[in-house]
Symmetry: C2
Subunit: 235 residues, 2 copies
DNA sequence: TTGCGACAGTAAACATCGTTCACTCAGCTG
DNA sequence: CAGCTGAGTGAACGATGTTTACTGTCGCAA
């Protein structure tokens, strides 16, 4: 009856929850979000569909839970890549950007679910501006690397008074979640994140093939260009 | 029997096609792509569902046709904004960027259908690299403005030899579609387009609210920063 | 004018889906 | 051992996309 070890019932229950989410992900990958079917998941598990309602109140809730797991997965991959890149924040930024793209390219449908058009119900989880927002977990290591880089040596930015006037009033959530982040760092992070997100989403959503046959080449060029802009080129 | 004027049958038919697509868009806006229902569209038209199969071979084909229309709509809005902005290519770029964002913010669900995760069947229409790709129609006025700006006065870019080696082999579709586009212009256009797309998609897909309460402020700051980078600030 | 053929639309049916309800059965706890 | 909690089932409801067979109706040609 140790409080830390879950009871047998709880172990079985969480195993079932995991199996359901694995089945949902399999269907997601095979045929997109609309292919996630409670009945098919149940069939794959040797059960009937209503049994799943013991674990999730609706199909939508299951999809939301899956999306949360996926956000955690990509956040973990990115953070691990940053930690494995050594102490130089420039190298960390490059490694984390590449890790984000690599995860997206390897898991395109999952990327679409988490970072694409908000599925009704899934969009709500990114609406709150709390520091424990799953999206914030993803951004945190990037912000930390930018901050380390800034404290070592600042890079050129737009005039401070322009940013304070036009951006300052709306940066509250980001700056407070990271302890009085300098506005230059906040702006550079957001600008860089938008570029990273745009490049990756364009590639994964097939939005750039009409112009470019190898999106990775543009991605690498942009990394070089951006890192040199913030004075973080290793050489 | 004049060849230019369509026969009565053809007029009725194209009116029905339009009404079906209007109904589909209404359902799309109301409840997302999965809410588009043949039976509901037919009910709204005072018909039964199988009648729609006289006009579209499947629901998926209807969604694809709707997506094509929407791509044409946004391309038209952007081109019109560019033409209304006068002769200065810098002003044209700013106006077209704002028009793109404005359309996306005003039509978020439609934006998700056209520019978001590829719905099975819709993703295929952006796969080909032909010059008459609907996506190319959207990019053309941007490329034209960049080219005019470049011919007037070039801006600093990464070294030409780097781009020729790392980007040149993969830029064929874009450069050929615009008649021997200089590689500096091709790179700057793609980089800028990725930034524009990233900013807009982040805002419309609720991917930035955890950090920023007013995405438009960051959008405007990025416009200023980018235009000054390419030496196109009006002042 | 008459006839015919192409076309628009319908009704019924099938397979699938999410969801609810009443029910059974096993396992843990008092 | 009794009883309760929770997992799972089967049947049912309403909804979906799609197919099939059928019925009109309109327009064009002889």
């Amino acid at each position: 009856m140790t409080a830390s070890s879950p009871t047998r019932r709880e172990r079985l229950r969480s195993a079932a929850v995991s199996e359901i989410k694995e089945g949902a992900r399999r269907l997601l990958v095979a045929g997109g979000p609309q292919a996630i079917s409670l009945r098919q998941i149940a069939r794959d598990m040797g059960m009937t569909a209503p049994a799943i309602y013991r674990y999730f109140p609706s199909l939508e809730a299951l999809v939301v839970a899956l999306a949360e797991d996926l956000m955690g997965e990509v956040a973990g991959v990115v953070a691990a890549a940053g930690e494995a890149a050594g102490d130089d924040p420039g190298r960390q930024l490059a490694a984390m950007a590449r890790a984000y793209r690599a995860w997206a390219v390897a898991n395109p449908v999952e990327f679409g679910l988490v970072f694409g058009a908000p599925v009704p119900g899934v969009g709500e989880l990114a609406l709150d501006c709390l520091p424990d927002d799953p999206g914030a977990d993803l951004g945190r290591p990037y912000v930390a690397a930018f901050l380390k880089l800034w404290q070592r040596e600042p890079w050129p930015t737009p005039p401070r008074e322009y940013m304070l006037e036009h951006l300052g009033p709306y940066l509250g959530p980001l700056r407070q979640a990271h302890g009085d982040l300098p506005i230059e760092v906040a702006y550079t992070f957001l600008s860089g994140w938008a570029r990273l997100y745009g490049m990756v989403a364009m590639e994964v959503f097939h939005q750039v093939r009409w112009a470019l046959t190898k999106p990775e080449a543009l991605f690498e060029a942009e990394i070089v260009q951006f890192l040199s802009q913030v004075g973080a080129l290793p050489k």
